[in-house]
């Protein structure tokens, strides 16, 4: 099963761009990289998903290099409300969706 490694925590300031990188050396051909956000006492919320290159939606961008051994979630101009835990994980055919330890992002005023 593919394993992910993320920084345990990050601090940033309001208005900054935040990049969170996830390493996944043994990603499989069929794995899609997916990022979730979780606030305290709430269920994880889907942010973005990609397979390769760059994906952008209204809240984030996801950068995946050609070897797919890492991915970077980019949050533009963060606000205090972006303080949360961010998880990268894989979706593939075996139905096992395993969460890594996640990154605790703390946005400071």
């Amino acid at each position: 099963l593919a394993k992910t490694t993320q920084p345990i925590s990050m601090d940033s300031y309001e208005g900054q761009e935040v990049n969170i990188t996830c390493s996944h050396n043994n990603i499989a051909t069929n794995d899609y990289i997916t990022w979730y956000q979780q606030f305290p006492s709430q269920g994880p919320r889907f942010i973005i998903q990609g397979y390769k290159t760059k994906v952008t939606n209204e809240v984030a961008s996801l950068f995946i290099p050609a070897d797919r051994k890492s991915s970077t979630l980019s949050l533009p101009r963060v606000s205090l409300s972006d303080t949360a835990v961010y998880y990268c994980l894989f979706l593939n055919r075996d139905d096992k969706i395993i969460f890594g330890k996640g990154t605790r992002l703390h946005i400071l005023p």
């Binding site: 994880p44 979706l91 593939n92 139905d95």
Partner: protein
């Protein structure tokens, strides 16, 4: 509507009680999941139902008993739990299992306290 509804939001039960957690989705999803999450830890996969059949049991103790009465409902029956089972229990669903390109939707969770 991308909603997974879990009830109750909070549950306190004694170690000899029998209770159930319920999960419902009306998105036509064919895979449903139970996760357990302790404070400041990531969610841990417990069970996966695919097309109403149990496809994955992550060696969960038998005091947790899942049930999928139909494609929209998922229950988690609880019996003889221990205080260390106190946690946030998350239900999730996805259109056709954790296949490539799928999206998993989570409910807000049920907080369980075992006393």
């Amino acid at each position: 509507d991308t909603e997974v509804t879990q009830t109750p939001k909070h549950l306190v039960m004694g170690m000899t009680n029998k209770k159930s957690l319920k999960c419902e989705q009306h998105m036509g999803h064919r895979a449903m999941y139970w996760y357990k999450q302790k404070a400041k830890k990531p969610p841990e996969l417990m069970f996966v139902y695919s097309y109403e059949k149990l496809s994955i049991n992550e060696s969960v103790p038998s005091r947790f008993s899942p049930e999928c009465p139909n494609s929209s409902l998922l229950n988690l029956h609880l019996h003889a739990l221990q205080p260390e089972d106190s946690a946030l229990y998350l239900c999730a669903s996805s259109p056709w299992g954790a296949s490539s390109g799928n999206t998993i939707y989570f409910g807000e969770g049920s907080w369980l306290t075992v006393v």
